[in-house]
């Protein structure tokens, strides 16, 4: 693997900046992360952050909505955005010669949005319709249902809000959220690929100078956790099961251990859940184990969908497999999981935007670029004993369980 040379700067404008030049690449990617997300919405205005993310693209003081979109298209820029619990990310991949221009358009969009009244109304109307669409997406609906219990009311908000909260949002609230949260001191900007680092850093500094207030720091948000078993009745062919318990933050010394534990459980077809729940018992088509991370905390999830008559057996088998890890985990399983994660850093590392996405995640969680070699070394050091200790230190009980479908779980242990 080639040596990576990162640059990290606190720019004069107040934004955090990190870059990874990748010689030989044919594209460049950047991400602008605004440190404001769903958790920063006023309590009664759920869905506001996503409406801001949507409507901020609908024109600036200089350009109409379509002119702005056309300007990105003139560069062939592949742009996108997303809203999370604690941040909002605006992404762009383009040919290297267009990075400066694309950054200029993004700065114009973030600094001088016009939030046209008609587009604000349409965004709110479409969000109401998206709530109807959500009813036809059982996987996402199950995640929405478990989130307030897995994370608490504030970090567990869903991006679409509710029909009632959306009805309370007006253009003034949209503009207010932008004014309160968008400032260079709350920006993290990462860039990678075929770039001249110092030129891009200078350009970013200039574009975001004197943007917004100086209050960039926000207190870390602590999630709540409400264990219990809950069911949402719905006519479906399959029953969806989600199981959650607290894990460790990304920065915790045990995070690599948690990753290995989850890999043994759910990564690859040789993983325990895939082998036991699907291959040996034929209970499911889909089963998985994964972690999710607010900035300073973590949650572990197991999930599966199965026909209702097999729901109880699936639930028991999922938990049994977690318990069995502490009893008979093997060195081979741990080593295989390490190889899987480390090898994918090389194969997927061929994709510029994947590497830049990881860099953005590093800045958000760790406050610095973390070289791939450093992450891989931490994973490589994990032993069977570490996983057993982790399971002892972070027991799965009490659980937060959500089912969605025709029937509730029986009295499964």
């Amino acid at each position: 693997m080639m040596t990576e040379t990162y640059t990290q700067l606190r720019l004069d404008c107040g934004a955090e900046f990190a870059a990874l030049p990748m010689p030989g690449r044919r594209t460049a990617t950047y991400e602008i992360r605004v440190l404001a997300g769903m958790a920063h919405e006023p309590e009664s205005l759920g869905g506001l952050a996503r409406i801001v993310e949507e409507t901020i693209t609908k024109g600036t003081e200089q350009r109409s909505a379509q002119e702005l979109t056309d300007a990105f298209d003139a560069l062939g820029a592949n742009v996108g955005s997303g809203v999370g619990r604690e941040s909002m990310v605006f992404r762009c991949s383009c040919l290297p010669e267009y990075v400066d221009h694309a950054l200029g358009l993004h700065a114009e969009m973030l600094r001088t949005p016009s939030f046209p009244q008609e587009y604000c109304e349409v965004a709110l109307d479409l969000a109401q319709q998206e709530l109807t669409s959500l009813e036809d997406d059982p996987g996402e609906l199950a995640r929405r249902l478990i989130s307030p219990f897995a994370y608490g009311a504030r970090l567990g908000r869903h991006e679409l809000g509710t029909r009632e909260s959306l009805a309370r949002i007006q253009r003034d609230e949209i503009v207010g959220y932008w004014r309160d949260n968008f400032a260079s001191a709350r920006l993290q900007i990462v860039v990678g690929g075929a770039i001249d680092v110092h030129k891009v850093a200078s350009r970013v500094d200039q574009l975001f100078s004197a943007f917004g207030g100086s209050d960039g720091r926000q207190a870390p948000l602590t999630p709540d956790f409400s264990p219990g078993r809950r069911h949402h009745a719905k006519e479906l062919e399959q029953q969806h099961i989600l199981i959650c318990w607290p894990g460790v933050p990304m920065t915790h010394a045990d995070h690599p251990v948690e990753r290995i534990m989850l890999g043994v459980l759910g990564e690859g077809m040789s993983s325990r859940l895939f082998a036991e729940v699907r291959e040996k018992q034929g209970l499911v088509y889909w089963v998985g184990a994964w972690d999710e991370h607010p900035r300073t905390s973590g949650r572990v999830f197991l999930g599966a969908s199965t026909t209702p008559a097999r729901c109880d057996q699936t639930y028991k088998t999922l938990l049994r497999e977690v318990d069995r890890l502490a009893e008979d985990l093997t060195v081979e399983e741990v080593e295989r999981t390490k190889i899987g994660i480390i090898a994918k850093t090389q194969t997927h590392g061929d994709i510029t935007r994947a590497r830049v996405g990881e860099l953005g995640s590093d800045l958000f969680f760790y406050g610095r670029p973390v070289p791939v070699a450093e992450k891989n070394a931490r994973l490589a050091a994990v032993t069977v004993a570490d996983v057993r200790r982790y399971l002892n230190d972070h027991p799965r009980d009490p659980l937060c369980v959500q089912t969605l479908g025709p029937r509730a779980l029986e009295d499964a242990a």
């Binding site: 062939g76 036809d136 062919e237 040789s270 895939f274 291959e279 088509y285 090898a343």
Partner: protein
Amino acid sequence: MVSMQSRFVDHTLKNGLRLVIEIMPHVQSAAAGFLVRTGARDEEPRLAGVSHFLEHMCFKGTPKRNWHQITIDFDNMGSTYNAYTSKERTFYFGWVRVEDLEKQVELLADMMRSTIPPEEFDMEKKVILEEIAMSADQIDRCVYDLLHERLYAGHPLAWPVLGTTESIARLTRDELHGYFLERYHPANMVLIFAGNVDPDDTIRMAERICGDWEARAARPGRAAPPRLTPGAHSRVVSRFKQQAIALCYPAPSAVDPDREAADVLAAILGGHNSRFFWNIIQEGTAPHVAAGRLDYCDAAMMIAFGFCEPDRADELLAAMRSEMKKIADDGVTDDEVQRVKNRTRTGLTTEAEAPYYRLMQLVQDIDALHRPRDVAERLAAIDAVTPAAIKAYMQKWPITGEGCLTSLGPRHWPENAVSTGL
């Protein structure tokens, strides 16, 4: 700037197994996969779903490995691997570090000699029945299956890739094994590579691993489907909350030279920054509306589709028809075409970065066109499209008139539609 030109090596082993290798010296990984030229449209009705079932069974046992060893060997390489089955093909693939390529190919090749282990058959049947149940909860999958069922009625393209609960329940292991013996041999397969590989070493490797496979006759030819006939079909599924609408017109197939004009038109009509986006979605009519082309080796359809509140189905259909009429009457602008070209250039340059992306494109080109295309050739084909070419396209392949309308959701809609039960 690194050139977008690629170097291909095309070689056929003595037993008829074709190899296509794209050499990508600028990457640190390699991807490989076996294309098997058989899919749902190549099945007899009593075996509906057998191609997809077989794809699952190839992961279940070989002369050298049981199912658990297959998965362990994939994961011991850290491979990004999987397989898929479509109407026209089955594809097995893995993406690994360059040094693991030979092990990856050996494993995939071993799976192509599957024993279809009888003791695993009934268990895997349960998994597939779960997959069918999962698909039945997804409105987009349901409308996709419905429009094929109605628009290609009586032709194998109408059959669902997964089969049905009934066809899978009655399928036997011997029937599946017989289908496997007929289709999984060199004349019906292509081994495709993309990555930082040496072509001579790769050919020698393939010869060593696959050179003793028995040559047999290719699968039977395919009959072209009838041209789409206008009409409306509706299926009521009361558990869905949205109404799905698909309006289809005949379009150029995967091998037709008009395909690029069709794709640029579809992007202008219903892609990113499109007319549907600004004039339908951003008018608040529906949150999800798009256009695209679904193509096969001898047929295709241009589809305008959307998901809306059930009581707004008339409004959505009228809006889609209005935009399609406007574009048919007035054509497209130079700016609209140029924007699609600009986005395509970036997309293709990104694709050229990763062997995995290239492999997924190569399998389509080799299956349909029987030859690989590099990103430069594909970009040139899009660059050649002009507003005049799109105008000419719409005269040859109209996107106005009654069309074939398919609707699925809680309403029987439109009222004059033929009602189709589950």
